[in-house]
Structure formats: C-alpha cells, structure tokens
C-alpha cells in the first residue's frame, strides 16, 4: 500500500470488515463463525459479502447456541486455529460466560502453560437503538474483571481497522466490544492503515484543567463535551482507554498529574464497575494528585429502558458530561 495515497472516507462498519478480510487473507488458520454471519451478512452487516469471497469453510453460520459455538471456538484455538467468534450482542454472551470464564480464561493457567487459546470474540455492546434491556447493556466492564483475557473497545475507525489483527496475534483470548452505535460512524482512514497496538490508552484531545476518561461509544460524546467546555474557557484532556483489561493507568495518571481533576464517562453501571476500578486505582496510586473529588457519568442503575426518552435519559449524554465536568472544575477551585 502506498503511504502517500490520500486517505479514504469510510465507516466503522467497513473498517471492521476490512480488518476481517485482511485477517482471512493473511492467515489460512483464521475463520469466522457466529449467528447469521454468513448468508445474512451479519446482524450489523459487518460480514456482508465475506461468505461469497471466502466460502462456507471459513465463514460459518452457527446454531443459536452461544455456549456451543464459543466452546467450539475455544477448541479450535487450542488445536492451532485462529478463530474469530461473533456473538451478536454482549447480552447473549452471558450464555457463553461459562466457556469464556471457566475455559478460555483459565486453561493456560490450569494446564501449566501447555495450552494457548488464541481466540478472538467480537460482540456488539451498548444502548441507544431502542432495543430494550435484553439487547442494550454494556458488559465490557464485567469482562474486564476476568484475569486471563484481554478486553478491547475500539472507538475510532482506525481502531476498528487495526485492533483485530493484533488481537489474533495474541496467544490468549481477546474480546472486542463494538459499540453498535459506532457502526455508522464516518471518517477518514489512511490508505495504508493496518494493525495498531492494543497496549496503551490514547490522549484524543489535550488539555490542562481536567481529564475526561472514557472509551467506546462514549468517546464521541465526551469529545463534544470537551469542545463545549473549551468554549467556556475550560481546557480538558480526553483519554480513550481503548483496552479495558489490562488498564493503561500510566496514561491516565500522567494526565491527572497535569490536570488534578477527573471525570470518568462509562456507559456501564456505577456499582462494582470499571469506573469504580479506575477511581480505586487513582486513590491507590495518585491520591495526592487530586484537587477535587472524581466524578462519574455512568448509566442510571436500571435495566436500559425501551422508550426513547427514557433510554436517552439513562445513558451518558453530552449535557450530563458537561455538568459533571463543570462541577469538578468550579466547585473545587
């Protein structure tokens, strides 16, 4: 690919498909399976066209049994394949939680290092599409609780394009959470875009007064809030965590050491959550950098409602992020 070629305009969905095609082309051990990924082209149309291009052996429709096809993926990975398993949404992944937690995450340890599980599981996450509670929750924070797996949350077109191959090359299970609202996200992608690192968080916007820590679907709302804060003379730094496990606290703490104030934006619930974990680590590692209490903007602790106005009220929004940021800056100056 020519690095000097002009960038292309594409979407998060197409970038993800590019990543799948690259993986399928690069390594014959790679195959994709999941519900409706073949003939239907994927519930979110991510895998459209792949069946025709790569054939039934490598693009496999599965029965509606998450435990079975995730388990099959683990077995394939143990036997030398590089499976990509798509679970339609993370809500259904709970049916496969036993496979993920008790098998995928543990077998390296329980076998004394004899088995690697180079499995990648992709799943959609998040609310905002009026699909009601059983299709709208955000469980990436839960999965980040589990030792033995990595949890990725691509929030940009570059990361959608680049994280998959790096995840496949990891010898341990990796789960990629794709916020379903991001699939239509449009933007530029470098013509030579390819695999990206998955070890570090990224500062998406630099600032001095306040650090806004977020990931996934909330990143774009957070950036909008940061732009509005700038209009009020408040300079905020936006950190995209990208990987929830392992957490890159170094990037977070480096920013906090500069701004001394922090708001965490996480579409998960507050109780026992990723946002709580970040706060706890700040207390442990950087208590004396804090100039104000950390605030969190999270989902209201209810099953995500179906009604549009209630659903919108239940999840983080630009307005609520803005309000929390202003409280943190103005009430504690």
């Amino acid at each position: 690919m020519n690095p000097l070629a002009p960038p292309i305009t594409t979407t998060y969905r197409d970038a993800m498909r590019m990543a799948l095609r690259e993986a399928l082309k690069r390594d014959p051990r790679v195959f994709l399976m999941g519900e409706d990924v073949g003939r239907y082209g994927g519930t979110y149309a991510v895998t459209r066209g792949l069946l025709d291009e790569f054939g039934e052996d490598r693009i496999r429709d599965t029965p509606l049994s998450e435990s079975v096809f995730v388990g099959a993926g683990i077995g394939a990975a143990m036997n030398g394949m590089l499976p990509i398993v798509e679970v339609m949404t993370c809500n259904f992944s709970l049916l496969a939680l036993d496979q993920i937690l008790n098998n995928a995450a543990t077998l390296r340890h329980m076998s004394g290092g004899q088995f690697s599980i180079p499995l990648v599981i992709r799943m959609a996450t998040g609310a905002g599409r009026q699909l009601a509670a059983q299709h709208s929750h955000s469980f990436e924070g839960w999965y980040a609780h589990i030792p033995g797996i990595k949890v990725l949350t691509p929030a940009t077109i570059e990361d959608a394009r680049g994280m998959l191959w790096t995840a496949l090359m990891d010898p341990d299970p990796v789960i990629i959470f794709e916020n379903a609202l991001l699939y239509n996200l449009e933007g530029n992608l470098a013509a030579d875009a390819g695999p990206v690192g998955i070890d570090r968080a990224i500062v998406r916007r630099t600032g001095d007064d306040l650090t806004l820590v977020t990931y996934g679907g909330s990143l774009h709302k957070t950036i909008q809030a940061a732009e509005r804060l700038a209009g009020q003379g408040i300079s905020s730094e936006v950190i995209d965590l990208r990987t929830l496990r392992p957490l890159d606290m170094e990037t977070v703490l480096e920013s906090l050491a500069k701004t001394h104030r922090m708001v965490i934006i996480d579409e998960g619930w507050k109780s026992g959550s990723l946002s709580a974990e970040i706060m706890a680590r700040v207390m442990e590692q950087a208590f004396y950098d804090l100039d104000a209490p950390i605030e969190r903007v999270c989902s209201v602790e209810v099953p995500i409602p179906y009604a549009r106005h209630l659903e919108q009220a239940a999840i983080p929004q630009v307005e609520t992020i803005l309000a929390a940021a202003l409280r943190t800056v103005k009430n504690h100056v």
Binding site: H260, D289, D291, H332
Partner: protein
C-alpha cells in the same frame, strides 16, 4: 486501639502546636492524665487523655502544628480491639477489661462535652493542595479557601505562594506571638457569636447586702490565705440557679438546644498583657464556696502561668464574667459559642434603695444575662435572675 487526637479546646480552635509529650511509647496512662502540652492561640494547654491504656505509638513529633482531629498517638486499651499488638498486651489487659464498664460518672460528664469537640469544622484541603503546600514550604493553616466553606485547592496554595514570592505578603499571615493570635481567636469566636446567635439581654438590680455582709463576717473568722473573694458566693448562686433553668446551661449545636446536666462554670479571666480566656470550673453546682475558692485561685494562677488543661478549655457550659471588679455597672455579654448564655456581675455599690416605703442605703449589684433566644426565651431568663436574687438573699444556703 484508642486513637488519641488533637482535641478542640474551644469552638475557635483550628490547630495547635504540640509542644511537649509527657508520655512515651510503652507508658501506662490513666483517664484524666495530662499527657501532652499543646500551644494554642490561647497559650499552652495541658491536654488530658480520656482512656486508660498503654501508649502504643506516638504519631506526631513535638514541634509540629496539627489541625484539630488529627491523630496524635495510639493507645492500646484494656478491652479495645488491640489488633495491632494482641500478643504483647494480652497478659496485662485481661484483668482490667472487667473493670472498664464500672467507669460511669466521669464518662457521662465528658460525653456530654463531646459535641463541642466536633463543632470545630476541619478545613477541607484537597490532597493535591496539601502536597503542593508541603513542596513549597507553605503552612497549610495559612492558606484560605477561595470562599468560606470551600475546600482549599491548588489554586489557593498557588496564590499564597505567589504572594510569598513577590515579597508583598509573607506566607504566614498570622504573627507568631500569642497575644496577636489570641486576638484572632477572640475575633473569630465573637464574630461568629454576633453573626449566629440572636442574643437577648436582661438586667436586674439585686440587693446583695446580706451576701456581702455574710462573706465579710465569714472572712473575719478565717486566716488571710483562706479568705473568700466576694465573687465566689455569686459563682455558687449562679451555678445553683442554672439548675432551675437548665436551658441556659449547655449548647446550641446543629440547630438544636443541648442542655448539659452538669454545670461547668466558665470563668472569664483576663490575661496579663491583654486577652481573655473562660476555662471551666467543673461541676460548680455541686461545690461549696470553699472548694470554689480553691478552684478559682488555682485556675487564675494557671491562666496567668499559661498551664490550663484541655478539659477546662473545652468543657464550659456557661460563662460568668465579673467586670464589676473593674468598676462597670453592668455587663451585656457576648455569648461564647456554642454556649447559650453569659452572666455578668456588675459593680457592688451602695445605692439608695426603697424598702417598705423607706429610702435606705443598700449594697446593690446589677446582674445581667445575655442568652441565646434560640435556646431560651426571655421569660425563662427572667426566672433565672429571680432565682438568683432569691438565692442571694439567703447566703447561708450558699455555703
């Protein structure tokens, strides 16, 4: 494990400097023992401890200025959960743990005074601001928040640092000498009083001829060193009258009246070179004039030598001021928060007095009450002054 913390020695105290430890690690201490000397804006105070136990650890070194409520030392208590060192203390603590519940009298006395200690609100400082102040060598106690009630932030510390660097203002705005500091303390307490307490004022002229002649005749029977000052029977009468109108004796805390069952009369004592303290004579209602005289003399001596005890500073339930000694007719006092009353004794002088249709010469004093209208009403205040008058007419009852 009992945590011995910097006590609040009055509502206006924010911090104190630990001047001297009178205990060391491993020492056995008893309730009421003076364990440390703390320098406050009102001078050096002997600080007592209210637990029995063994000193486990001295946390704060001498010479350090620490805010009210900060941990000073750890004490292994006989029946406390001595998780830190159970193996060490087991053999000497087991027998004592049976003893502990029997301590009741002084216990209740001091738990009543406890609200005073919690009243002094600890200034909130952000962790980062505290660290920054340490790095810049700025005393955090000299930093003011941007507005009252707010936490001190980095910006506040930086403002002080900037002023210090430009040389216009020193980093320590409070001058080191105690008299100026005491002015600051008095200013804070009195401003708060006038800001928060709706005072009402009552004054009564009382014929004190009988009580004055009684004391004079008593003193004739005594050696010079045992003589009773004229103010002492008034202290006795005030303490007794307070028992009849308990809402004047105690505190106003968090929006409610908290009368004290014990009367700890705070005696306003002016200090040489200016300034004022009002330490407590504990349980003054239960003490006769001889004991009150002994206590008063002891208190005045120690005020002048600057060796008050922490409980004397924090326990007064009411204040009594005797400016009449200096010749004033009447005192309309300012209440020391969170107390709810201050009683003033004016000059005792011979005045024309009408009795049974005759104008006679009597020794008369104007006795005043300034009280917190939130805690009591003028009617009750009037009853208090009437009770005082009645008690003063029967001096033998004051013995």
């Amino acid at each position: 494990m009992y945590e011995f913390r910097m006590p609040s020695l009055g509502a206006d105290m924010e911090a104190g400097t630990l001047v001297e430890w009178l205990i060391k690690t491993g020492d056995t201490v008893n309730r009421g023992q003076v364990v440390a000397v703390v320098e406050t804006q009102k001078g050096a105070v002997d600080v007592e401890i209210w637990e029995d136990g063994t000193v486990d650890k001295i946390v704060v070194e001498t010479g350090r200025k620490v805010p009210v409520g900060e941990l000073l030392a750890l004490l292994r208590t006989p029946n406390g959960a001595s998780s830190a060192a159970p193996e060490k203390s087991r053999e000497d603590t087991t027998p004592q743990s049976v003893q502990k519940p029997t301590i009741t009298n002084t216990e209740s006395l001091h738990s009543e005074a406890a609200p005073v200690a919690t009243l002094s609100v600890r200034q909130r400082v952000s962790p980062s601001a505290r660290k920054l102040a340490e790095e810049r060598g700025i005393d955090i106690a000299s930093v003011q928040p941007s507005e009252a009630g707010a936490a001190i932030s980095r910006a506040d510390v930086e403002r002080v640092a900037k002023m210090g660097a430009s040389g216009s203002v020193t980093a320590k705005p409070i001058p080191p000498d105690w008299h100026s500091q005491m002015r600051v303390a008095i200013a804070a307490a009195m401003s708060r009083s006038k800001r928060e307490i709706p005072h009402y004022y009552l004054a009564t002229d009382i014929d004190v001829t009988r009580v004055v002649s009684w004391i004079e005749s008593e003193n004739l029977k005594r050696s010079v060193s045992d003589r009773i000052l004229p103010v002492v029977p008034f202290m006795r009468a005030v303490s007794m009258a307070l028992n009849e109108v308990p809402e004047l004796n105690g505190f106003w805390i968090e929006g409610e009246s908290r009368p004290s069952s014990a009367v700890h009369l705070g005696m306003a004592i002016s200090m040489r070179g200016g300034g004022l303290v009002a330490p407590a004579i504990h349980d003054s209602d239960g003490k006769g004039i001889d004991q009150l005289m002994v206590d008063l003399r002891d208190l005045v001596t120690r005020v002048r030598s600057g060796r008050l005890r922490s409980s004397e500073m924090s326990d007064p339930t009411v204040t009594f001021t005797n400016l009449g000694e200096k010749g004033v007719e009447g005192v309309f006092g300012v209440i020391y928060p969170p107390q709810v009353a201050i009683i003033g004794l004016g000059k005792i002088s011979e005045r024309p007095w009408v009795e049974g249709g005759q104008v006679v010469v009597r020794k008369v004093a104007t006795i005043t009450l300034a009280a917190d209208h939130r805690a009591s009403d003028g009617h009750r205040g009037g009853l208090f002054l009437a009770a005082l008058d009645r008690l003063l007419q029967e001096p033998e009852g004051l013995r």
